[in-house]
Each structure stands twice: as C-alpha cells, then as structure tokens.
C-alpha cells in the first residue's frame, strides 16, 4: 500500500505541473490584465509596474521564474492587487478559515446524512423512511445560495440570534450559518445514497445468511451491513470534501467569512495572476491527495480491494 501511495503521489507531480501550465496560459490569454483599469495608466507608469512584477518578460520566462520560485523557495509570488501581502500570506490567512467551516460542514453532512439514510433503510416504508426521504430531497433542493438568504433572514433579521456574517476568529456563533448553508444539500445527497445502498445490502445473500444464523439485528447492521453500505458513500464523499473546501465561494462571499473563496473569485476578476494560480494549485493538490485517501479508504471498506 505504501508503494502504491508513493506511486500515486509521483504521478501527481506531472498532473499538477500540467495544471499550472494550463492555468498560466489560460489566464494570460484572458482579455485584460491586472493593471487594466478604468483610468488607463500612462504607458510609462504601466511599463514601470510591469517591470516591477516581471510581466515585461516573455511568457515562457515568466512561467519558468514562477515554477523556479515555487520549487526552490516555496514562494508563490506577490499579489498584484494587495501590495503588503504575497500569495503565501493570502493563503495562510484564508485557507484555515475555509478548512475550518468546510471540515465542519463535511462532518455535519456526513454524520447526519449517513444516520438518516441508515434509519430510513432499516425502517423501510415506515414514517421514519418517508420523513428521511422527504428531508433528503428537500435538503438536496436547497443549494447554499438559497440556504444563505433564508438563514440570514431568519436567524439574523427576524430572530436576532446570530450575527449575519464575519468570522471573528471562528467563534461558534459565526460558524453556525455557514456550516448549515454549506452542509445541507450534501447532507441530502448522502442520506439518499446511504439509504439506497443500505437497502440493497440488506437484501443481499450474506445478510440473509447472517440473519439465518440467528444474529441479533444490531450485529447484522453494524458488523455486516454497514461497511459495504458505505462503499458508494465514500466514493461520493471524496469529491464532496474537495467541493466543500473549494465550492465554498458563495458561502465566503455571502457570510463574509474571509475564507479563500473570496480571494479566489476576487483574484480572477482582478486578474491577480499569482493569487489565482496559487489558489488553483492548492485546490489541485488537495484534489489529488483526497482522491488518494478515498482510494485507500476503499481497501478498508471492501476487503476484496487490495493495493
């Protein structure tokens, strides 16, 4: 398994390099540059700025310098928009925030979703099942950009219970709404996948055997049915984990959390090349690592899979 993991990580290097090169060129081919502004800069000023950031160099040279600085100095370059911060600062400030509420959302979506799905499958066709399915569908139909306004209007404006945004060092009051907004629709999907997977497993031969030999239901469910049930859930969770961290752009903007999503969108709009690339690389690397972890998790859930 160690050899497999190492092999996967080695393959990740060219993957990420390819990502960098593709992004680099796409970015530079997009019309407008970091210093395109409503007040076009006089040529002399523009030339000075471009010289300062090396943007007057040929593209291949810029790419080479960029890669060199990452590999040798782990320096992702300066921000063109925020003079007193570089990309490393911006990621160091925003990523922990995204990671915190992203992980919490992931945890909430998984625990609630899986429990709901299992309960629904065990009590198939009972009111619990109907309730869980109804809730799952409703939740799935509520993407974060619908949940956000509903939550703010309810908890901030009408009830006055929670602050309408901000982060404040991650105090719990500031976490609740972003986590709920982000987790809800994933929770719905997880519940539905778990339910149908569990129903399938409960109808399979090895469960019938387990029941036939007189095992109590609890043992059947926990020891025999749970692991195979979770296999499809895990393959769904891998990408979801990356989504909750990267797809949190809306939550960042809506709840003003100061997370990386705001910096990401902002950098794309302002053509802040280095910030945009830096965050893309981070998200790319994260995807590679999470995919690897997901694959490794399969082996634990399904003994038939070996690396």
């Amino acid at each position: 398994m160690l050899a497999y993991s190492l092999r996967r990580l080695l393959v990740a290097i060219p993957t990420i390099l390819l990502l960098i090169v593709a992004c680099f060129f796409l970015m530079h081919f997009a019309p407008g540059g970091p210093f395109t502004s409503e007040r076009p800069l006089p040529p002399a000023v523009l030339a000075n700025i471009e010289a300062r950031y090396g943007l007057d160099q040929p593209l291949w040279k810029q790419l080479w310098d960029y890669l060199y600085n990452i590999v040798v100095h782990f320096d992702f370059g300066p921000s063109f928009k925020f003079k007193d911060r570089d990309v490393n600062d911006i990621i160091a400030q925003g990523f922990p925030i995204s990671l915190t509420y992203g992980s919490l959302s992931f945890l909430a979506a998984t625990t609630v979703g899986v429990s709901l799905g299992i309960a629904a499958a065990i009590k198939h066709n009972s009111w619990i099942d109907y309730f869980a399915v109804g809730l799952g569908i409703a939740a799935q139909a509520l993407p974060n950009f619908i949940m956000g306004p509903i939550l703010i209007l309810t908890f901030t404006l009408w009830l006055g219970l929670l602050p309408g945004g901000g982060w404040n060092g991650g105090q719990w009051q500031y976490l609740i709404m972003p986590v709920i907004a982000l987790a809800t629709s994933y929770m719905g999907s997880i519940a539905r996948i778990t339910r149908s997977s569990m129903l399938e497993v409960l109808n399979s031969n090895f469960i019938r055997t387990a029941r036939a030999k007189g095992l109590p239901t609890r043992t059947v469910i926990w020891r025999h049915a749970l692991k195979p049930t979770l296999l499809p859930v895990v393959s769904y969770l891998g990408p979801v984990f990356v989504y909750v961290l990267t797809g949190s752009v809306f939550v960042d903007i809506y709840f003003s959390t100061g997370g990386l999503g705001q910096a990401y969108v902002g950098s794309a709009l302002s053509r802040d090349y280095a910030v945009l690339l830096g965050v893309t690389i981070l998200y790319g690397a994260l995807t590679v690592v999470v995919n690897l972890l997901t694959d490794l998790a399969y082996a634990w859930f399904d003994p038939k899979i070996r690396y």
Binding site: N48, K83, G94, D252
Partner: protein, 542 residues
C-alpha cells in the same frame, strides 16, 4: 446593535478611550447633543480595499481609510471647502506656478516624531518613483508638478521633482504650468506624507498594523483581510482633543443585499442601498434612508472612429438617440434612488460649474421624442432602412436594467433595433479601450471637484476618451480653462458644443444612497466628492 458584535467589540476596546472620555460622558461642544458612551462607527466595505499606503492606494474604500490614517496639506470640510490640514496656509506667485505651504509646528506622527516638509517631499518623490511604480503616479502629472512626467517615464532623476523643503515647516512646489485649483488637489491621498524611516525599515509590509506609523487622526490597529479592519484614535494627532469618534470599524460584505439585511439587524451604522430599494427603505425607515448628489456621471459613448458604425458619424442620429431617452423613467423607476437626470456631461453638483441652458433639458419628453423621430428620418433611417447597432455594458444587474430600458425606448419610439451585450469588467475595459464597440457604457467619478475632471474626458488626446471624439474647439477651450482664473464660461461653452454634437448620451448623475443610523452625527452629505473624515463625525446617545 447586535449583542454578539457588541460583546466582541467590547473586548477590543483599548485604553485609547481615555481622552475620548471627556466627550463620551458629555455633550457635543457645538451642537450640545448628548453623545453616546460608545463612540464607534461601523460601516460596510463592498470589497477588500487595495492598500492604505497613501502613494499606492487606488480604490475609494482604501482612500477613505487612508484619509483617516494620514493627513495631507489641506482637508475638506463638510461642504467640500478647503480647510487647513497639516498646512495652515499657502501662498502663490502671480503666475500661479509656485505654491508655498506653511506647515503647522504641532503636527506629529503616531510615534511622536514631528511631521516636516521633508516628509511631504519624500512622499511626493515616492509617488513618481518608477521603482515604486504607483498606479496613481499619473495624479502627480495631473497636478502639473515640474518634471513629474519625465521622472515617471524614467527620463529624469527623481531629485528633479519640483518640490522642496525650504525648512521643516515650509514646502515649496513648482509647477510646469499654472494651475489655479492646485490646492484642491492636495486633499487627495496620493499627496499625503509618508514616514521614510518606517518604509525603509519594513518595505512593502510597512502598512501592516504592527508596523505602520501615520499622522492622521486615527491609527491602524487591526486588519483581517476580506473580513474587517479597525482604526482607533491617534493620541499624537494635533487636533486629538477635538476628535470625538474613538474607533472606526469596517466590515467587508460583498453582497449589498446581505449588507442591507445586516444593517437592518443593527450590525452596521452605514451601508449602501441596492438600486430600486430606496423607495421601500425611505418609506419604512424615513429617518435612515438618505440620498444626495455625488460627483459622478453615467453615460453611453458613441464610437466615433473610422471603424465605428457609419450611422454614428451623423450628429443628428446621435442626438436623436439621446433625445429619445426618457431620463425620468431611468431615475424614477429603474434606479429610484434620487439620482439627478443628466443632460450635461459634468454633474450640476460640481463646484463652480453652472449647468448651461441645454435646449433638450427644457423640452418635454413628447417634444423630445417628436424631434428625435424627425432627426432620424432626416438622416435617412426609418422603417425601410432601420438603424441597428450593439450596445455594451459591464456585467452588473443595475447596468443591465438601464440598458434594457434604453433599448426598449429606442425600439418603441424610433424603431431602432439594439442588441445588448454584457462583458466582464476587465474584458469590457479592454474592448472599450480598443474601440471595439458601437455604443458603450461609461461612468466617471471626479478626481477633484472641478468640471475639468469630467470634461477632459472629451479632449481629443485624452486616454479616457474611448469614443475618440475630436473637436478642435473643445480642445482649445479646455486648454484655455486650465490656466484661466474664471473657467466657468469656458466649461459652459464646452457643454453647449457637447449637447449639440452629442458624442455621448448623459443618462444620470450618481447619488449617494445610504442607510445611515440616526445616531451618526455630521455625515457630510453636501460634500459631493464624499471626502469624509471620521474625526468630524460623532455618535449621539440613543
């Protein structure tokens, strides 16, 4: 105020309240109003500010913060008039190309060092330094400071900039051309002093709260990018004892509807009102919804280059399109925030600017429509030969609403078929700047309160003249206005020519449309540039 915000703020309050205590418990020295114990002002920023480095900052949000942290030679009062800042007075020679400022001797940096003329010399040289490559270096050129343009281009050494310290309290500025409104320009953040020692010690990181030294009424105490920032009373400020507000907090809230909700929940003292919501807000909260004219215009510009549409080369076609725009519908129904209708390019609110009697302004809309039809028919466009073109605007809900309204007016009244196209901001700027358009949206906010900041856009060589309008008489008048003691009649004539030739369609002039807590005192609604200073504000007791 929301209780969670309040608790978290209470934790952050520091000893800086000591001098404020005299006011906190008492009443306003001029108005006699009871003052709130907590003199904290919280407002929304629509986006993270670019910087608080005076020579680097390029956005309005950053400039507002910078204006609190630093103080330049002159300030503006509530009505936009010049009042002394670090300089107590200035004199100029007969030809108005040398200005001498006398600096007050009690101005200090937040570390206790005196503010000297040398700090201004350093800052102004810094602004034109090719190595700093300030995005606002052009402002020094606009100020006509001797050799600024050559230094920016790298053709002269920085030391030749026309600014020198005669002694610690006397600053002399030499201009390359006479400029009557030069002192007005010293209220701009690019001209604020900079602390040389601190900048040399910390480099680009000098503006972080832990490093910064500033000379304004406030110091920068906390900055969480994309989230919040705090500035607090500067004990070293020369006029600290007359400063009432102790603390100013900004919260970054990108979405203006969320910001409005959070304002209504009591988390903010000030926020912008989204387009179209002003009527409802002023009905529900008449004492909090405010609207006042701003120094910005909103227009559409014709592409007048060779590659532009053939039809637009005919002034009658351009005028017909302008006439058919029912500006009342745009300002009353679409924007609905108290924006003034525009028939001239420069806003009426501009200082020293008299709106000329433009014929179109005095007509009724049916009269305008009638004339528009005649003009267009005369130009050879009608049902058999319909006029059609594309109009572009940058992606934004408000701009879209205006564009849709305009295209419908032209279609219904004149049978013109218009294709709408929206573009992301940077793409839009590039396309418009390269004249790849038929009709494009434009908007401009004055850099200083004088009509030339707007009318210069229509000067043939201006880099901002995206439609490439070229009229020798306009150029001549604008050049003359630069050095004239009384430029108003010249501007009036420029506007008359513009009204006749219609290189642009002025739609409306901007209004500042805010929700403002009734506790906030002295908000300068008459300052059309909205150059506000926290030191002049206060919070009334509830």
């Amino acid at each position: 105020m929301n209780k969670y915000i309040r608790t978290s703020l209470a934790g952050l309050l520091t000893t800086t309240m000591i001098t404020g205590a005299a006011f906190a418990a008492g009443t306003h020295p001029d108005t006699g109003e009871a003052l709130a114990d907590d003199q904290t002002f919280i407002y929304r920023l629509g986006d993270e500010h670019s910087s608080v480095d005076p020579q680097v900052v390029e956005d309005t949000y950053g400039a507002e913060i910078t204006r609190d942290l630093f103080e330049g030679l002159m300030n503006q009062d509530e009505d936009g008039n010049l009042v002394p800042g670090v300089a107590t007075e200035y004199t100029t020679n007969d030809t108005k190309d040398v200005y001498t400022f006398t600096l007050r001797d009690n101005a200090k940096w937040s570390n206790g060092d005196p503010v000297t003329a040398g700090d201004f010399v350093y800052a102004w040289k810094r602004a034109v330094d090719p190595e700093l490559s300030s995005p606002y270096a052009w402002f020094m050129e606009l100020m006509s400071i001797e050799n600024a343009a050559e230094i920016i281009a790298g053709n002269k050494p920085i030391d030749e900039l026309g600014v020198k310290a005669i002694d610690d309290h006397t600053l002399e500025v030499t201009l390359s051309a006479p400029l009557p409104y030069f002192p007005q320009m010293t209220t701009h953040s690019t001209t604020f002093p900079a602390p040389q020692k601190v900048i040399e010690e910390h480099g680009d990181a000098w503006t972080r709260p832990e490093n910064i030294v500033s000379n304004g009424a406030y110091i920068w105490t906390e900055h969480l990018p994309q989230e919040r920032s705090v500035r607090e009373r500067n004990e070293m400020y020369w006029d600290n004892e007359n400063t009432i507000l102790d603390k100013v907090v900004t919260l970054v809230i990108n979405d203006e509807n969320v910001a409005l909700t959070r304002y209504l929940a009591g988390e903010l003292d000030r926020t912008e009102v989204p387009a179209g919501q002003f009527p409802r807000m002023s009905q529900e909260h008449p004492d909090q919804a405010i609207s006042f004219p701003r120094l910005c215009n909103y227009y559409y510009t014709f592409n007048l280059t060779e590659d532009g549409p053939e039809a637009f080369k005919d002034p009658n076609v351009r005028q017909a399109l302008s006439l058919a725009v029912d500006r009342e519908i745009i300002t009353e129904k679409v924007m609905a925030g108290g924006q003034p209708q525009a028939y001239t390019f420069a806003p009426e609110a501009t200082a020293g600017f008299t709106v000329p009697e433009v014929e179109m302004a005095s007509m009724t809309q049916p009269e305008r429509d009638e004339l528009a039809k005649e003009l267009l028919a005369g130009a050879g466009y009608g049902p058999d030969n319909p006029l059609s073109f594309e109009m572009v605007y940058n992606t934004n809900e408000d701009h879209k609403k205006v564009a849709v309204a305009l295209s419908q007016m032209w279609k219904q009244k004149l049978g013109v078929s218009v294709e709408l196209a929206n573009m992301e901001w940077k793409v839009f700027l590039e396309e418009r700047g390269n004249q790849n358009f038929d009709l494009a949206r434009g908007a401009w906010c004055g850099d200083y309160n004088e009509a030339s900041t707007f009318l210069d856009l229509l000067q043939s060589q201006s880099g901002y003249n995206d439609g490439k309008y070229n009229n020798a008489r306009v150029d001549e008048l604008l050049a003359e206005a630069k050095t004239s003691d009384n430029p108003a009649p010249l501007y009036t004539e420029v506007e008359r020519i513009i009204a006749q030739e219609t290189p642009v369609i002025p739609i409306y002039h901007y209004a500042g449309v805010y929700m403002m807590d009734t506790d906030v005192g002295n908000w300068p609604i008459n300052n059309v540039e909205q150059n506000w200073y926290s030191k002049n504000l206060y919070k009334r007791a509830e």
